[in-house]
């Protein structure tokens, strides 16, 4: 990747930060919430792909990191019924 590309990505990242900040100030709906997290995902993907060079890395590394994230998704989904939707537990 060229120096110029790194700087271009940086500009996109900065703009994204601004966009999400604006969304949080002027948005009042669930849509704004979805918006700021989508922006976060895009930013993370850019950093992962181009700054950490995951795009050009061996495929198994991407799969391995994806598996780590998959474990977290399993944990999250598995815990929703117990932590989020609790019925009648003290303090719940």
């Amino acid at each position: 990747m060229s120096r110029k590309s790194y700087i271009n990505i940086y500009v996109i990242l900065l703009v994204s930060v601004l966009v999400s900040a604006l969304l949080s100030y002027f948005g009042h709906t669930k849509l704004a919430l979805v918006g700021i997290f989508t922006v976060a995902l895009i930013k993370a993907t850019l950093v992962l792909a181009f700054y950490m060079h995951l795009k050009t890395e061996q495929r198994w590394v991407r799969w391995m990191l994806g598996s780590a994230v998959a474990c977290l998704v399993i944990l999250f989904v598995g815990l929703i019924p117990d932590i989020v939707h609790v019925y009648g537990r003290m303090g719940g």
Binding site: Y6, A32, I36, V47
Partner: protein, 195 residues
């Protein structure tokens, strides 16, 4: 590649990813599960406690925003340092890594200011469970920043002696990871509550 790497190419089956970088990826995988675990706990608890919105509105999004820009910039300087090594410009790499460290220290300084202000306002880690999570998540992140700065300085010292230039890439990958964690922490703790 280094002499050591050339030697191993004849000794062992050809590796798909060079050992140093691979070690960093394995390390990051475990870090993902640790930080991710903490984040999952927060997300679940936050979902379960809609009343936290009131507390969460008191995080300082201005400092949060500045810190986000600071960290993103440090990521840029770090990747440019790696690029400099790639073009055999170690002195340039050192300068860029120096800027990265400065920006990292800036981040910590702003964080310290932020914490001080919040504690003075009465938002301590014991104020309520939201604040406990806030200090836990940002504190854990700040510890990783400190570790990253120590690592970068260590690599810089080696590089100044002309050794181990390949480590610039590896420490860079770690630094970007710390940045990615912040990319998620920022909207979670600073932006979302404002909506």
């Amino acid at each position: 590649m280094s002499e050591a790497q050339a030697a191993t190419m004849d000794r062992y089956e050809v590796p798909s990813v060079v050992t140093g970088r691979m070690g960093m990826w394995w390390f990051l995988a475990s870090e993902i599960v640790i930080f991710g675990g903490a984040l999952v706990c927060y997300l679940l608890s936050r979902w379960h406690h809609p009343d936290w919105a009131e507390s969460a509105a008191h995080t300082n999004e201005v400092i949060g925003l500045i810190n986000t820009v600071v960290l993103l910039t440090s990521s840029l300087t770090m990747v440019l340092a790696h690029d400099a090594i790639h073009h055999a410009q170690p002195k340039r790499a050192l300068r860029l890594m120096g800027v990265t460290v400065l920006l990292g220290v800036c981040f910590l300084g702003l964080k310290a200011l932020e914490y001080t202000h919040e504690i003075q306002e009465g938002y301590t880690p014991l104020k309520n469970l939201f604040w406990s999570y806030y200090y836990f998540l940002t504190g854990l992140h700040a510890l990783h920043i400190v570790a990253g700065l120590v690592a970068i300085v260590t690599v810089m010292r080696g590089l100044a002696k002309g050794k181990n230039s390949q480590r610039v890439e590896y420490v860079g990958i770690y630094w970007h990871f710390v940045d990615v964690v912040w990319i998620f922490l920022f909207p979670l703790l600073y932006l979302a509550p404002k909506i």
